[in-house]
């Protein structure tokens, strides 16, 4: 081929590329609708999901969008109210006429959105639904890889980790918030602990929004268990730690279900605290395709958004995963047809930054990918199982 021909072909390819780009730009955007709790008690965590969604949509548009069209994300504030989330999802479908849906935060709002999605036969990918047995809609797809029976599998993973530690516990105290997605896990932990021969020395429940953790701390101190299971969400874990510290008590080994990640890892009182994770900023998680770029982007954007702790962990990773699932579903189906997307996702595992997710199990849940992490030297690090542990990290005991 002569030089002239090669140049001509190169110019032609360039023209086609630019024209295709211009065509894509001229296409109406694919509109993805969702709500997030931008105000109200769940706003702190929702801000993480907002930042992640913005990052993902920007990345997606830089890659050429979906099906040759740019993507626009419409996000409404559900004020942490599941009933409002229901209304807003109705509006997104019937008034805004969005092409696709993305789930809200958290379990209550997701359940509301799921009902609306079911009524209109829309696919709903969601980030953090905590009670798999209640996800009865066939076209909902969870990014929160708890497995179908987390109330059994998650406590078993925790107790396996403790059994492998230098000081396996013999007694347990289960104290828990009555927040729904936390409470059922704690009740599951009680059953699993009993089956594994742990002696329960204390069981306590409190209402979400409790103000005085002093008496709870006093009862824990009185029971003095080898292992403390705290069914806490958000700041409850920190509040209990502070209350225990004020009466001079340090738990021997302690686990928190859904802690506020930043405040807990930064608290000196949370030394060796355990929790669950699907992603932390260390290998092998960071070897997943796109993970490093996402981490860098998230650090910058989270700092700009005023989020005190800019580390990518469970919430941010689950959020990113949800967008990966939706993108994979649309690309796999080659269309915006919800039934086609749902059918594709049912039969194809999706590679995400937390691993391979499948949706062919009960309630569309696949494997339980939850790992055990621990606060070590002011950071969360995965400690169990060994294959997912941070380099050199092992479970520490007091």
């Amino acid at each position: 081929m002569s030089l002239v021909h090669r140049v001509a072909r190169g110019v032609a390819a360039l023209v086609i590329f630019v024209a295709a780009g211009a065509f894509a730009q001229g296409q109406p955007p694919i509109r993805i609708g969702s709500t997030l709790a931008l105000t109200g008690p769940l706003a702190a965590t929702s801000l993480v999901h907002k930042v992640v969604g913005e990052i993902y949509v920007e990345q997606l548009n830089r890659r050429g969008g979906l099906l040759g069209r740019p993507v626009e994300w419409i996000v409404r504030d559900d004020q942490s109210k599941p009933d409002l989330a229901r209304t807003l999802y109705e509006q997104l479908i019937t008034v805004d006429k969005v092409d696709l849906l993305m789930g809200p935060y958290a379990t209550g709002a997701i359940l509301s959105a799921m009902g609306v999605a079911q009524r209109y036969n829309k696919v709903l990918v969601h980030h953090t639904f905590g009670i798999p047995a209640q996800a009865k809609y066939d076209m909902q797809f969870p990014a929160w890889s708890l497995g179908p029976t987390p109330e059994v599998s998650v406590p078993n993973t925790v107790f396996d980790a403790l059994a492998a530690s230098p000081a396996p516990p013999k007694t347990i105290a289960v104290v828990t918030s009555k927040f729904p997605s936390v409470h059922f896990m704690s009740l599951g932990a009680r059953d699993v602990a009993k089956k594994r021969g742990l002696n329960e020395v204390l069981f306590l429940e409190w209402d979400f929004g409790n103000l005085d953790y002093g008496p709870i701390a006093a009862r824990i101190k009185d029971a003095n268990p080898d292992f403390l299971w705290v069914g806490a969400i958000g700041l409850e874990g920190n509040q209990l730690l502070e209350a225990m510290s004020k009466i001079g008590y340090t738990p021997k080994e302690h686990f928190y279900m859904y802690p506020a990640p930043g405040p807990m890892s930064k608290s000196a009182l949370a030394r060796n605290a355990l929790s669950m994770t699907v992603f932390e900023e260390h290998p092998p998680f960071t070897s997943a395709p796109g993970a490093k770029e996402f981490i860098e982007l998230y650090h910058a954007r989270a700092a700009k958004a005023g989020i005190p702790d800019t580390a990518v962990e469970v919430q941010a990773a689950a959020s990113y995963t949800a967008w990966q699932i939706l993108e994979a579903g649309v690309r796999g189906a080659g269309s915006l047809d919800d039934k086609a997307i749902g059918a594709w996702l049912h039969t194809h595992p999706v590679d995400t930054i937390q691993g391979k997710l499948r949706f062919d199990g009960p309630h569309n849940y696949g494997d339980d990918l939850m790992r055990v992490k621990q606060v070590q030297d002011g950071h969360w690090v995965t400690v169990y199982p060994a294959a997912y542990a941070a380099p050199g990290a092992t479970l520490r005991v007091q």
Binding site: A44, D212, G234, N238, G306
Partner: protein
């Protein structure tokens, strides 16, 4: 069922005493405003949280001692209280409408706090947080002790002011019968502005105490409303000492319920006490 140990009961009661002091401190300004000005000021909670965030900002970023921040926060909150009363007096609101109006203001302040500090958790790290004394087997945390002392001191100071000063007598007279009090030369508008300012300042002090002991998030302000309202109603509207006594009764009752039964039963205590009181003395609230 095994009985809890004496240490557990005593430590729980102490914890209840401290939280009860804070209920009383939060309820002091609210009750005065409700009883004497007939303004059910929900913005009292918003102002307390705004003060808590200001304390956090001045201490964490500005490097001030948390107690020194009172020198700035108290006058600011006083001014807020005066401005609020000035605004509300323009509309001649009924108590119920004042509740609705100040609820709207609360939402605005909450949005403002969220805009500046985000919805994320903010914890004031001070040496006072870890400071505590051991008395026998009991632990006495310094920050909570200071809060209780502030609640007791301010409640008695307000009681003395109401009883022994001309301003206090005038305020009580206005609450009793405003037209007659005015006929005797009491300037109702000016006195209402002063009292509202004092209530604002009390909210500011409560806010600093909150920041010393609690991690802050804007929506947390709503968690206090129910129990502090119960405290005020139980203690008596406009009473300076009532909220303190009621707060301590509620706090200790909740704590002992947690120690003997379960923490999940504790929230029922304050409202059960309130219902019992209303049944026994229907005119109380």
């Amino acid at each position: 069922m095994t009985l809890p140990s004496a240490t557990l009961v005593a430590q729980s009661a102490l914890s209840g005493l401290f939280i009860g002091g804070l209920y009383g401190l939060m309820g002091l300004g609210l009750g005065l405003s409700w009883g004497l000005l007939h303004v059910i000021n929900l913005a009292h909670f918003a102002l307390a949280f705004l003060a808590a965030y200001l304390c956090y900002q001045l201490a964490s970023v500005g490097g001030m001692d948390p107690f020194a921040t009172l020198a700035l926060i108290v006058p600011l909150c006083f001014a807020f209280g005066v401005a609020l009363q000035w605004l509300l007096s323009r509309f001649d609101l009924s108590p119920l409408n004042s509740l609705l109006a100040t609820f709207g203001l609360t939402a605005i302040v909450e949005a403002g706090i969220q805009g500046v500090w985000t919805a994320d958790f903010r914890k004031l790290e001070t040496p006072y947080a870890a400071l505590h004394w051991q008395v026998g087997t009991l632990y006495v945390p310094a920050a909570e002790l200071v809060t209780l002392a502030a609640a007791v001191g301010l409640s008695f100071a307000v009681y003395a002011a109401m009883r022994f000063t001309d301003l206090g007598r005038a305020l009580r007279a206005l609450a009793e019968d405003a037209p007659i009090a005015s006929a005797f030369g009491i300037d109702a508008r000016r006195h209402a502005l002063v009292l509202s300012g004092v209530c604002g300042a009390l909210a500011g002090i409560a806010g600093v105490c909150l920041a010393l002991s609690f991690t802050l998030t804007p929506s947390q302000m709503y968690a206090w409303i129910g129990v502090v309202f119960a405290t005020v109603m139980l203690g008596g509207l406009g009473s300076p000492l009532g909220p303190l006594a009621a707060g301590i009764v509620i706090g200790v009752s909740e704590a002992l319920t947690s120690a003997f039964v379960s923490p999940s039963w504790a929230p029922i205590v304050s409202f059960t006490l309130l219902i019992a009181l209303l049944l026994a003395r229907p005119g109380r609230a």
